[in-house]
Symmetry: D2
Subunit: 345 residues, 4 copies
């Protein structure tokens, strides 16, 4: 890191900072410009909290130089991470899996019905929430373990992988028994106990960006999971909170190529949450693929007006079938393809 | 709620929406303007997810009318909630308690030392983190239960109440054994399992606003706790995330009087996190009290440059003593006073 | 609009609001729910300032129903507006023009050189700033009229249209003499005198979204120009200001399909400013076209490291040629094509 | 500035950057850490555009060290700037002037009436808009020069100073004939021609922060005016745009002490726009003064429900009189006082 001293800092102040840097085990490299003295800190200073140094007398600015994550960094791990799940969907390679299904698992019958339809379109991964984080305590909170059992049954019957959200550290082992991909929801990107819990499994994790998480914080959240020994982490851009209210979130599509540069982990896009409006899901899916996304996760419901949650952003199956066709064309235009199972004509 | 139909909506579309509204158990009250048909929904529609209606054919806009929270609302509970804790600090009345102490409990000795200093200034509540949520997995994560024991010892020795952050639902009962106020941190405002867990205790809760939480979401998070039967909830404004980088967060001081209007719960301000800079803590404490805050929570450390976390925003004890004097004057100017213990001269 | 009364509002309060609504020339349509009285305002209430009503006794909320713009609205003008400029580039149809060139016109020689290169790639519109708005008074402010003359010379020599930014109402007539498209920069989206000035010309306008402008404000800014009688307005998404600092702006790609729904005006994307990084321009150009953009505007400089402004986001000509090839493929995948002149092999 | 090279940068890349730095007239000071090479640039590099360097091969990060403004900086000008206007109001000293009046000058009669009432309360500066920037072209745009004449008449009759917004460079000389303080509105903080125009006058300027302007951009905007030779600039915090919709803007009260540290210019607060709600103006005025504001500007209207603009945030005269009393007490508590004229009992 680089420490910039105030113009009013005395030689004694500078000496104090140097002493503290050396006490922490680093070498200090001071140099004086015309208006400021600058102290370079030599060594891997990731473990040092810049905040503590900021409070030393005479310090004006601190500029960290090294990204604070390591395992997630492409610097340390140049090749792309490839993740393959039950049923064969493969994330991080040329083909682009599409995860689809209802926001919530509402009951067995409707879940099997939608799974069958999606399987018929070649979809290899079913999404569906069993534990639902809801802004209001008065909203439907999910079927819980019963929902997990329905998902496990989908897995068996249709040969699809299933992905579901885990809400707490203690529920992680339970979810892990039933599903193929553990999703960390946007409200939990910085729920560190939960990150540690999924880091202890060896199941792929779909880590959603926090509603106001920075790209760096997303990578640090991934670092928690990777540091636990679970190397199968996928990052998911799902829209961020801004001042614009025309859409529920602002889809930060810049994040897709930025993440591809910074990390080796697959980058997934959730156009349903990134827009909050079903009629924007198709154009934003095409955009995501054009931008380099490694996967999509999309809400599909047989009758969105009857959906228990997130109806406004769910596509009907027919609209979703159209989407697959149009997104496939864009995928081809960037030398990729959707990762769909061959379907009997 | 009010449902606005598109200009292109047909009579059949409108009939479909009315039918759905009635199916949900409400009365629909349509009226046609010059350019749009508007349907009023009569009844307590808080449990209805507006999203599902948004996906009905012909719907353009939905405007909820009722606030989605009830127990937290001043409409339902006009008198202020008053919360008194061990040692006598009382939140929500005329006097304004100041909670102070280090970001983290670092060891017994330093914690006792700072507690003794703060007690000597009349402070009735010690803050200190035992479980620390850290953005990086490589940062100090807190002493855990050992930290709680140190806090309990402070409670005994100095007669102060103690407040600490609870990070997960399963740690809630443990924390509850040791401390007087359970803090929900900013990253956990929407950790619903945790909100439910502290809702099951009968211990006062200090609920921090999420880094990008809206005022409405903060009140809904409080609603989770209140719905669990725990009526002792304090809300804490601690800065929100915006584009401005001159300070770590933007202190949303408007939230103080807005919350006082909307809810009966005490409103606390954390000027340390709301600014991220120790040199802004005093002016922002004065501003918070002038704006109507019912309490303050402030980081104080014997030597911020040696603090394990958050050094940049921690005050030295002497600066904190000055702050108490100057804030007391502002409190008097708004017909209040700081809730400090009488101190021997 | 819909006016919602407070639960505490008296019959007299409601009568007062109704009286005021009728005084303004509208019909009031009150209806009482279980917890609130709601008053519908019947008639085209766009000219009414909701703020004034908000201050009437007993009023709790105001919900406007009609979009506040008319001429820009697709409701009023369902067919797409098509704009053709000198040299034949056509915006708003199936083909997608690409405007390209340096941030600033630096001198005649380098401008002719880059124009010739771009013409050789089929580019029909050259961009280049003569008047430059700069955050610091110490930065290069543009060549002024001399820059306009250079652009006019490009127009003659290479048969390209030219687009340049107009900074003030009084400079508008001057710029209008020289160029084919008048650009309103992001800092001037709400410079109403300037909008009026370009509204008085009959020259196409490229209206950039303000750095923190909402979609509605962008359409209202267009309304100013349209209301002046100039129907040739193009809207330009160029990134918005958010908390994320990994990129200079956050490219709000959702705005592309949202604008296409709300308005008949062509929607252009500026991936150079929307990212601030040259290495993100190609993926974001592909994404913009996949999302439905009607045009692109891209910074290209022969040697970005020597550019007087915006070097970090400027592409070298070779990289731009690659971009055109890859974006053309995406355009084809969405049944469109780039609007490039046929180039001799 | 500090230039950080990529880990993959070659010795040749580093040499290239050093050569470019020296070509620009600075000394380069390279030093190699374990993972990165860092190049310090020695000299006053404010005129260098960091963007151009960012595009050099091998460059990863650029960290400016010096603030890009000079004349506005407290480093260069440690003593507070004091500004006194007609009628005696003095900004930047111990006393705190309060500017008050209607959003728009609506007609002579009502303006004289409110001026007389405010004068009776000791207010020394009347605010009122003659040229109004309005989001919609269909809203009232102000009386123009007629409004200026009414303000000039207030000046004569009541001995008050008057402040009004200037919207364009060409209107600046006209406004300058009539008023005592030229206001730059939030939409024009980066209208550089306008800043230059008021910089050519010798009349005090009230420069409002842009709706999404950073503190640094505000100081750079002030620098434009100061660089023109007009040293009488006051900065005005008036709320910023964030995701929170409970208030029209988020009052960034942190900016008050931050600005007081960075600059010698007086810092004014506009609690009417910072909240958008009349019922929040009094608590936020107290907070502003507690935080160290050097002045307030507040909208007051005889009957806000009839106001042509901004009714929702205007106080009635009686409420404003109460505000003055309560804010005076807070001012005393921070060893200041309101700058009000002695009023006959």
């Amino acid at each position: 890191m680089i420490i910039v001293m105030k113009p009013s800092a005395t030689a004694e102040d500078t000496a104090g900072v140097i002493a503290r840097v050396e006490e922490l085990g680093y070498r200090a490299h001071p140099s004086s410009g015309e208006e400021r003295t600058v102290i370079g800190v030599i060594g891997d200073d990731r473990p040092v909290d810049p905040d503590a140094l900021r409070s030393l007398r005479g310090v004006e600015q601190i500029h960290p130089i090294l990204a604070p994550y390591k395992l997630a960094s492409r610097d340390m791990h140049p090749e792309d991470t490839i993740i393959t799940v039950h049923g064969g969907a493969t994330f991080g390679g040329t083909a682009i899996p599409v995860m689809a299904g209802p926001c919530s698992v509402e009951d067995a019958e409707s879940t099997f019905a939608i799974a069958e339809q999606l399987q018929g379109m070649g979809v290899k991964v079913l999404r569906g929430g069993a534990f639902k984080p809801r802004t209001s305590p008065y909203s439907f909170q999910g079927l819980g373990e019963e929902g997990l059992k329905i998902l496990a049954e989908v897995r068996e019957r249709y040969g699809m992988a299933v992905v579901t959200e885990v809400m707490t550290a203690e529920e992680a082992p339970l979810c892990d028994e039933y599903v193929d991909i553990l999703q960390i929801g946007t409200r939990n990107m910085q729920n560190y106990r939960l990150l540690e819990a999924v880091g202890r499994t060896r199941t792929p994790v779909l880590l959603k960006r926090g509603m106001s998480g920075t790209i760096e914080e997303l990578l640090l959240a991934a670092e928690y999971i990777l540091a636990g020994g679970n190397e199968q982490v996928m990052l998911c851009e799902r829209g961020i909170r801004t001042y614009e209210t025309a859409t529920r979130s602002t889809f930060d599509i810049n994040a897709v190529p930025v993440l591809k540069q910074l990390t080796h982990l697959p980058v997934i896009v959730d156009p349903s949450h990134a827009t909050g409006r079903w009629d924007l899901v198709e154009p934003m899916s095409k955009a995501a693929v054009a931008a380099g996304a490694d996967g999509l996760i999309i809400e599909v419901h047989a009758d969105p007006s009857q959906a228990i949650s997130d109806g406004a952003q769910s596509l009907r199956p027919e609209a979703f079938a159209d989407l697959l066709r149009s997104v496939e064309r864009v995928a081809q235009a960037v030398d990729r393809s959707l990762d769909l199972a061959a379907v009997k004509a």
